[in-house]
């Protein structure tokens, strides 16, 4: 997989101002809201990511070739670095999609981020326990995307053997420590102040 060499090459290419078509992060965004899809698409494009935006969990599974339908020959070329999905969607929820992705051999290692406009602790915990990387409160900001991108880029540079401990944060004083948590600011929506209500 990617090794330190790849990370260095990527950095060098960026320094030279060479467009990184090959090394661009590819993000799959799932949201039933057209407005939100357009915004997340732009957030990711501005952050130099390649985006595929779909409107439902079903479509997402189709795209990933996890719907058990036809041959998934194209799957071998499909490199997804991050999946961002809305929680509340008609039909399959983001949580159900998360479970399907984590239950697949092909994509279980892909970080999945859940987005929601509702700050419900039980929901957050449920998602994190199911393996979601993070739970982001909507509306998603540029700083959220930047942070995710930095995290993914760091992760891509790690050796394959190094397994990260799953992050779980139930209370302020209790959380699983790993190098990434220490470097990143806390981002669990339970703590984040919102102007929603």
């Amino acid at each position: 997989m990617t090794a330190v060499g790849d990370v260095l090459r990527r950095g060098l290419a960026e320094d030279l101002g060479v467009p990184n078509g090959l090394e661009e992060l590819h993000v799959l965004a799932v949201d039933d809201s057209l407005v939100d899809r357009k915004v997340i698409e732009q957030l990711l494009k501005i952050s130099s990511c390649k985006v595929t935006a779909v409107e439902s969990g079903t479509r997402a599974l189709q795209y990933l070739g996890l719907d058990g339908e036809k041959s998934t020959a194209a799957l071998n070329d499909l490199k997804i670095n991050l999946i961002m999905t809305d929680y509340s969607m008609p039909g399959m929820s983001g949580y159900e999609l998360l479970k399907k992705i984590k239950g697949s051999s092909a994509f279980r290692e892909v970080p999945v981020v859940i987005m929601s406009s509702e700050n419900i602790l039980a929901r957050i915990n449920r998602c994190l326990e199911e393996g979601a990387e993070e739970f982001i409160l909507k509306p998603v900001k540029l700083s959220d995307v930047k942070r995710l991108k930095d995290f993914i880029m760091r992760g891509e540079g790690e050796e394959k053997g190094k397994r990260r401990a799953p992050k779980r944060k139930l209370r302020d004083d209790v959380f699983t420590c790993d190098e990434l948590t220490l470097e990143s600011p806390t981002k669990f929506s339970a703590k984040r102040s919102t102007s929603l209500v």
Partner: protein, 150 residues
């Protein structure tokens, strides 16, 4: 110069929308996503929001006309409407959505209808103001782009 006068008007109009609480920082976030490749991004998103809103307002109106109100359905529609409003930074409208949902959860049909009337008013006002704002922005257009730091 007429152009710079228009530009000042634009800056003032924009600031007023924030000062009077019609818009919040999410609108600024959208502005930050606008660039040369997507010079009309904000207006495009807002236009999509109008489309969403028209559909949802219609659905809610229909649902409110039923003899037995389905509060779950109403709440669900309003959740979508609130989300869409939140995504463009529509502060006052969002607040009305929250109120409506509270009435839904309380099973208060009267409250729902009252707050929905208020919501429609707020939405209409915002739409009017934003349309005027974007129209002004279009007139100012070339100068605005030229003076924007890269």
């Amino acid at each position: 110069m007429e152009r710079s006068h228009l530009h000042r008007q634009l800056v003032l109009a924009r600031q007023t929308l924030f000062d009077q609480g019609y818009l919040d920082e999410q609108f600024i976030q959208l502005e930050e996503l606008q660039d040369d490749a997507n010079p009309n991004f904000v207006e495009e998103v807002v236009t999509l929001h109008y489309r969403d809103s028209a559909r949802l307002i219609y659905n809610i109106e229909q649902a409110l006309e039923k003899t037995a109100l389905d509060f779950n359905k109403l709440d669900s529609y309003m959740h979508q409407f609130k989300g869409s409003s939140s995504s463009i930074g529509a502060k006052k409208v969002k607040a009305e959505c929250t109120l409506f949902r509270e009435y839904c959860r309380a099973g208060n049909g009267e409250g729902c209808m009252r707050s929905f009337q208020q919501l429609k008013k707020e939405y209409a006002t915002l739409k009017r103001k934003l349309e005027a704002y974007f129209q002004l922005a279009r007139q100012v257009g070339p100068i605005d782009t030229a003076s924007r730091p890269k």
